[in-house]
Symmetry: C2
DNA sequence: TTATTTATGTATCAATCATTACATAAAGGA
DNA sequence: TCCTTTATGTAATGATTGATACATAAATAA
């Protein structure tokens, strides 16, 4: 069941992964078509035929990032036996990912497109939605903790979720500034020192 | 003692403040000369005569931001009687500033130029230096706390400083995502819940 | 073969970027 | 008045941006 016309001469997935690296490192605006086509080792018409536009390529890159890099971090939440362990591992996995050798430091969802038009379907709004989804994931894990008796029903789960999401956001900046894995792990550990006070209800 | 030639027809300080707003809102790269000259209500040659270049204008804008917006935040540290109160107010002032009506949300030092060349004297490296200076300020306040008997000499002051700096970084992202003053104040309060655990030594 | 369909490489598009010539205007000094 | 100095507005600079036109190449279908 081969498609009709001339077959594509490049590996779409490999090219997308290279594009993701460029967006991750330089951000949407600073990543030029020249940067992208050079890294993907294709010409502009091939890029447009495969991804539609620069914005379309970015959307595909964000989805790949979410499924590849983001998955390990988010997976910590449902896997752990308790909300406390889940969030602790969530932050630890963030520290590991944000300082992983051979890849850009910090999170693409935080650093990939901070400035941009407020309108819908912009690269900026796309990433903001992902960040807000992250807060929801944290809160839902906390809600499970309440259901399972780990946490008091009086605890302000939204506050706790926003606090740890904010710490995670900040770790991207700190990682870009040159922090080591050890430093970020210590920051994650420091954030967990607030746990008892936050969940006292 | 007036200067010799034709006098400047615009208010340099007022124009600089308008430029600061543009850089603060859009970031260095996304702020075009058209954006800047329109906001400053001058033409490009006047901008270059007064500030040398776009990068020179940015440096001046960052210095204005530091002396104007940043001062209130940093002033919390030496003013407070204790390191704990100082950092608590530091975060609270950050929350207030980052959600202040009528000005861009989040911190210009964090959001103003995240991507850019690694070389020296770039807008990106300029802001990174300011962020690292912030960590030093926090650590120095903690050191004072040790000298004054508030904190144990065994406490990991660098860890504590980096943690609260990271929280502050994250608050810029969260503020840009639409968080309210109340939400950010709660996050600041949550971060202070870690204090006892962090300073136990 | 011939027709159709899709991909590729070259070369280019208009738009925008930061920056600057250049002529003119407005001040002080002689 | 005339000279020097600085500022201004217009207009344009070369470079780069994201996106395409076009001819050609490589596949399937008839």
């Amino acid at each position: 069941m081969l498609p009709k016309g001339r077959p594509r001469a490049f590996d779409r997935d490999a090219a997308l992964e290279r594009a993701m690296r460029v967006f991750w490192q330089k951000g949407y605006d600073s990543a030029s078509m020249s940067d992208l086509t050079e890294a993907m080792q294709i010409n502009a018409p091939s890029l447009y035929a495969a991804f539609g536009s620069k914005a379309g390529l970015f959307r595909a890159a964000v989805e790949l990032y979410t499924n590849q890099v983001g998955r390990r971090i988010k997976n910590a939440l449902p896997t752990a036996a308790t909300a406390k362990e889940g969030i602790a591992d969530f932050l630890k996995q963030t520290a590991i990912s944000h300082t992983h050798p051979g890849q850009p430091h910090g999170c693409m969802v935080v650093l990939g497109a901070l400035h941009g038009e407020e309108g819908a379907d912009t690269p900026c709004s796309l990433l903001r939605e992902r960040r807000l989804e992250n807060v929801v994931l944290l809160r839902e894990r906390l809600e499970r903790g309440v259901r399972e008796g780990e946490l008091s029903p009086k605890a302000d789960l939204q506050q706790i979720a926003e606090f740890y999401a904010t710490v995670q956001h900040g770790m991207s900046i700190t990682a870009r500034d040159g922090a080591t894995l050890d430093q970020l792990v210590k920051t994650a550990y420091a954030a967990m020192a607030a746990w008892e006070g936050l969940t006292a209800g």
